[in-house]
């Protein structure tokens, strides 16, 4: 059984017991434990069920590479699925439950899949669920969905907060093992600003566990003093609990800091996403031990040799009393030695190499451990727990030589450098034949803006597995990172280290090398996604020769651990099946993040009110206080309507329209875009931007204009006022101000840069209030100060003056068809003017109206709305706006495009009014249909509805639409189907359905 040893455990505090629950059972660990070590200490070896076959699974690893130990963590708003037990720090009250089983971890119905594993090979789902097609939606999909996914998705809103943090540093060092510490120290000694990050809570990496001698002292002491030196340096920042998630172009890096996962009661954000710009990046991310492929290598109790050692040294936890060690290298002997030194039994070390006789081997022998060379495991015995192993010759086919009873197996297939970060932004790898590993090719690094490499990999991540080489590599790289030409840079000498000589490892991709299919079907490559050696071999046989294809066919490496343990073993198997050398098979693409990061951290503070900036007009408080309902328009929230007590929104809109048409409506038009265009060439510039002529507009006058892209399509409209000889004020649509400003700048800066024109966006500098309706003039006269009579201020003129004591610019423009004044005042005076208008207007029947009433009234007048009548494919001619297009101008943006044959095609759908025969309101977005079917067998469409409303003025539905040859078909009745198939009959009419003569404009 797995248990807590009486002594040992450098990271735990035995004086502080911590209670937690697993599957409802209360268990006890110590402060400093991970959830994995605490579970093992309680003999909870089996932690979950595998994804496909529901096989019992226990922890394999001790760190971020763990594929099996995934649990649902926390409750309610703190619930999180797929939490990795090896990287979850234990705290009091932690609640975890195992995943992917029903009804319980111990007894699971899905485990029946394991019995049929032979019939569920790679590609099973692709082959099985393809015929008949009619089964896809209602039979196959529900079945597949039922079996998909590991953890449960959270149901509650996340109660935690998250944030982003920006950092700019000279050197970012990722990984706080001895390589990272040394690299940070060397870089910092040159004066560089250094950020050193470590994903775990502890510094020193593997050296802290194996404790080699550095500079004549134990590694633990060197780590401690180096850390102290770094902490004392003002140019160094150290962060643990922080994982280097991804490297990107030009020295950009993302790191994920877990601030409170280990201490949930701590105030502040739970995770922080660091967005780092670094001059140079040094990755010291270490290496990950590889499993060996032998039958039953997934049975709980089979662990990586290094992990087993970690649990003993770090947490004083043993995975079993009797542990068989199986290896192809010397390092695993350290585990055997540690086990024996902890008083545990190692019945045998099975070394797949025919010969090995380094100091570690001798030390193991001297401790009395039986070392068998040229041997491997034929099969692990046990189902929910290792009960023994059958030994065979590695060179053979699996004939059992001997059976040894044991309750744990420590396996080591060699080490794979963590090259993920190096690869994220284009660093290339080379295959190191001697160590059977991919390591970074320093001659092909990720390139920065200057075309030079900006990433250096040091230590074990660079393929150096011996302590001395690790430290020298780190010191050299740090010098090179900071000062390319610094031969004797200030970084100082690398420390000197002694650790045991090791004999070379021998690659072992199958154990035994001639294993039968029956054995290969029990050799797991990817523990999390249940991919076996036989699956990869099947993929190769079926023609999936590219490693990327084989990956997707088998799902090898596609689980949440991203194949940290499985990729190299899998591609070695593929390489052998294809009879192609490993480097030619290559690796799959490494993609960020290195380990999963929380969605919360990605979002950061951008949620709720901070999700995006909210733009407020000077009158927003009044709208909110007066019961407005709002609609988003760009980043504004505009009042949609102002429902009164007992009134529906629809009722309110009807009232607002009627009141505006009969008395006075007040509209907050502050969101309207306002661009000042000024300069000697401003008129010429505007003539290029608008389809009509603006240079001829007299000072004091207004003109409606259309703006097109150079592709001919209508992009914005609005009223332009000429303020002075060289100054125009261009109104844009509410959502269009920034876009049109950018459009103007683009043409000014990049095409007509010699023209003397200046554009300023003054949208927010003004509050603008539309005073609309037959009594609008009376209200403004009541306020007094400006002559707004018909003679003094005719339609499409503007005047300046002091209205109600407030300096104002008054435009006589109308978007409703009524007598209308738009009054612009400085933003800070907007509320004062509004309050006066409301107060003085009450006696005249003034009421505010919202955007929906605005829409209804403009539709009654046949005025177009950008975004309703236009969608990026509509030209002004489609909308019957030829009158606003200059025939005289030699050029304007869009003119040449509108001459193209397709644009001049008489078959283009053209704007008309639609009057329903029975008065019904046509649904938004409806299409008009004609006779017959098109080439795809669909009903022919002859038009579409662009705006549709209930008109309170007419008491019926009104609509506008683009219809094939519309203007030539006046009076014709066309069919517009609803979604339910019923037909609305609509008559084609003029788009202007109210006051066609325009008699109401003057009041």
């Amino acid at each position: 059984m797995s248990t807590r040893l009486a002594t040992g455990g450098r990271l735990i505090d035995r004086a502080r017991a911590v209670d937690f629950t697993f599957n409802g059972k209360t268990l006890r660990g110590f402060a400093g434990d991970t959830l994995a070590s605490a579970l093992l200490a309680n003999d909870q070896m089996m932690i979950g069920r595998s994804f496909k076959y529901h096989r019992p699974r226990g922890v394999v690893a001790s760190g971020a590479e763990e594929p099996n130990g995934l649990v649902n963590l926390g409750l309610g708003p703190a619930f999180e699925p797929n939490a990795r037990v090896t990287t979850t720090a234990l705290f009091g009250g932690l609640t975890a439950e195992s995943q992917n089983h029903w009804p319980s971890l111990e007894f699971d119905i899905g485990a029946i899949n394991s019995a049929f594993a032979r019939f569920l090979p790679a590609g099973f789902y692709y082959k099985m669920f393809i015929h008949p097609r009619s089964f896809w939606k209602h039979i196959y999909e529900p079945f597949i969905r039922q079996s998909a996914g590991l953890g449960r998705a959270p149901k509650n809103r996340d109660a935690d907060s998250y944030e982003h943090f920006h950092a700019h540093v000279d050197v970012l060092v990722v990984g706080g093992g001895i390589a990272g510490l040394q690299a940070a120290l060397s870089a910092a000694r040159t004066g560089a600003e250094v950020l050193l990050i470590e994903q775990t809570a502890h510094w020193g990496g593997r050296a802290a566990v194996d404790d080699p001698v550095i500079d004549g002292t134990p590694a633990a002491y060197w780590i401690k003093t180096t850390l102290q030196t770094l902490e004392s340096m003002p140019n160094v920042r150290l962060r643990n609990h922080m994982m280097g998630a991804g490297l990107y172009d030009h020295g950009y890096a993302l790191a994920h800091e877990r601030l409170t996962d280990h201490a949930p009661a701590t105030p502040g954000p739970r995770h922080r996403l660091w967005r780092i710009r670094a001059g140079r990046i040094i990755t010291a991310t270490g290496a990950i031990e590889r499993p060996l492929s032998f039958a039953g290598n997934d049975v709980p109790g089979v662990l990586l040799a290094s992990a087993l050692r970690d649990y003993i040294v770090n947490y004083g936890v043993s995975a079993g009393d009797r542990t068989v060690v199986v290896t192809n290298n010397d390092d695993a002997y350290r585990t055997a030695i540690a086990l024996v030194q902890a008083g545990l039994i190692v019945p045998a070390i099975l070394d797949a190499r025919p010969q090995a006789d380094g100091p570690l081997v001798r030390q193991a022998r001297d401790l009395g451990i039986r070392v068998e060379q040229g041997r491997g495991i034929a099969k692990v015995q046990g189902r929910r727990r290792v009960t023994g192993v059958a030994i065979c010759a590695q060179a053979g086919e699996g004939a059992v030589l001997e059976e040894i009873s044991c309750d744990a197996v420590a396996m080591s297939g060699g080490w794979s450098p963590v090259v993920h970060l190096w690869s994220h932004c284009g660093g290339k790898l080379i295959w190191d034949e001697e160590q059977a590993m991919f390591r970074p090719d320093a001659t092909r690094p990720p390139l920065g803006a200057d075309g030079q490499g900006f990433v250096q990999v040091v230590g074990a991540a660079n393929g150096h597995l011996r302590t001395g080489a690790v430290l020298a590599d780190a010191a050299d790289a740090a010098d090179a990172a900071v000062l390319a030409d610094a031969a004797d840079a200030a970084g100082g000498e690398a420390p000197v280290a002694q650790d045991a000589e090791e004999t070379p490892m021998a690659p072992v991709w199958l154990m035994p090398q001639g294993a039968s299919l029956k054995l290969r079907q029990k050799m797991w490559l990817d523990f999390q996604n249940d991919v076996k050696v036989s699956d990869v071999q099947l993929a190769a046989r079926e023609g999936y020769e590219s490693v990327e294809h084989a990956k997707r066919y088998t799902t090898l490496g596609m689980a949440t651990d991203q194949g940290k343990l499985s990729n190299i073993n899998g591609l070695a198997v593929l390489s052998s099946a294809l009879n192609t050398p490993i480097p030619q098979v290559g690796t799959t693409t490494f993609r960020p993040p290195y380990t999963p990061i929380s969605m919360g951290a990605i979002g950061g503070a951008a949620r709720d009110a901070l999700f995006q900036p909210l733009r407020r007009t000077p009158l927003q408080d009044w709208h909110e206080a007066h019961g407005a309902t709002f609609e988003p328009v760009g980043q504004w929230r505009r009042p949609y309507a102002y429902p009164r007590a007992g009134e529906s929104t629809h009722d309110a809109v009807i009232r607002e329209v009627k009141n505006t048409r009969q008395a006075i409506g007040l509209l907050d038009a502050s969101t309207l875009g306002k661009l000042i265009v000024k300069g000697p060439d401003a008129g010429r510039f505007l003539d290029m931007l608008y389809t009509n002529v603006m240079s001829s507009l007299p000072v004091g006058r207004c003109r409606y204009g259309l703006m097109c892209s150079d592709n001919g399509f209508l992009i914005d409209d609005g009223v332009v006022a000429r303020l002075s000889d060289d100054t125009w004020l261009c109104h844009t649509t509410t959502g269009g101000a920034d876009r049109i400003h950018a459009h103007m700048e683009d043409w000014l800066q990049c095409e007509w840069w010699e023209w003397q024109v200046y554009v300023a966006n003054v949208t927010e500098q003004f509050a603008q209030i539309a005073v609309v309706g037959p009594k609008a003039r009376a209200l403004l006269e009541k306020l007094g100060g400006v002559d707004v009579s018909k003679a003094a201020l005719p339609f499409m003129h503007w005047a300046e003056g002091t209205l109600a004591g407030i300096p104002a610019r008054i435009f006589r423009i109308s978007f409703s068809g009524e007598l209308s004044y738009e009054v612009a005042v400085a933003a800070g005076q907007g509320r004062a003017l509004w309050d006066r208008l409301v107060a003085e207007g009450a006696a005249l029947g003034a009421m505010p109206y919202g955007t929906e009433a605005l829409h209804v009234m403009r539709a009654e007048k046949g005025y177009i709305m950008i975004g309703d009548e236009t969608d990026g494919t509509v030209i002004p001619q489609d909308l019957g706006l030829d009158w606003a297009i200059s025939k005289k101008k030699a050029d304007y943006l869009g003119k040449r495009a509108q001459e193209r044959s397709h644009m001049a095609d008489p078959e283009r759908w053209t704007l008309v009014g639609l009057e329903t025969v029975d008065g019904a309101v046509i649904p938004d977005g409806a299409y008009a249909v004609g006779d017959g079917v098109n080439a795809n067998g669909q009903r022919v469409t002859i038009g579409r509805v662009t705006s549709t409303y209930y008109s309170p003025t007419l008491g019926r539905g009104i609509a506008m639409g683009l219809v094939l040859r519309g203007p030539q078909r006046m009076g014709e009745v066309i069919d517009i189907p609803r979604l339910d198939g019923s037909i609305i009959k609509a008559r084609i009419v003029d788009p202007v359905v109210y006051d066609k003569a325009g008699e109401r404009l003057d009041g």
Binding site: Y248, D249, R277, A449, D746, Q749, A890, D891, R896
Partner: protein, 109 residues
Amino acid sequence: MLTLHCPHCGTLAAETELTAGGEAHLKRFGPGSDDDSFEGYLFMRENPKGVHFERWRHSYGCGKWFIAARCTATLEVFGTYPAQSSAPPQHIRDAITARRPGWGWRDLA
């Protein structure tokens, strides 16, 4: 995430401060141009693996447009210069030649 040097305000701008504006040095064809010229101006774009000239706007900085000469394959930036240029300046061409001898782009070399 690229960083580009803004030639107008002098800062090193991260991509989040910038807006991409597509291929640089387009020659506008207006009324009177034939269909092929107009099509070429409006729609036809280079898609090189290697040296490319692109328009960028320092939207969340000084608001000015500039042109970046960079390698689309390695993301190396050869230089940036104001958009008020109808062709790449000589020092930019020299910088590209130093790094990519024999380069060509449209009718430039």
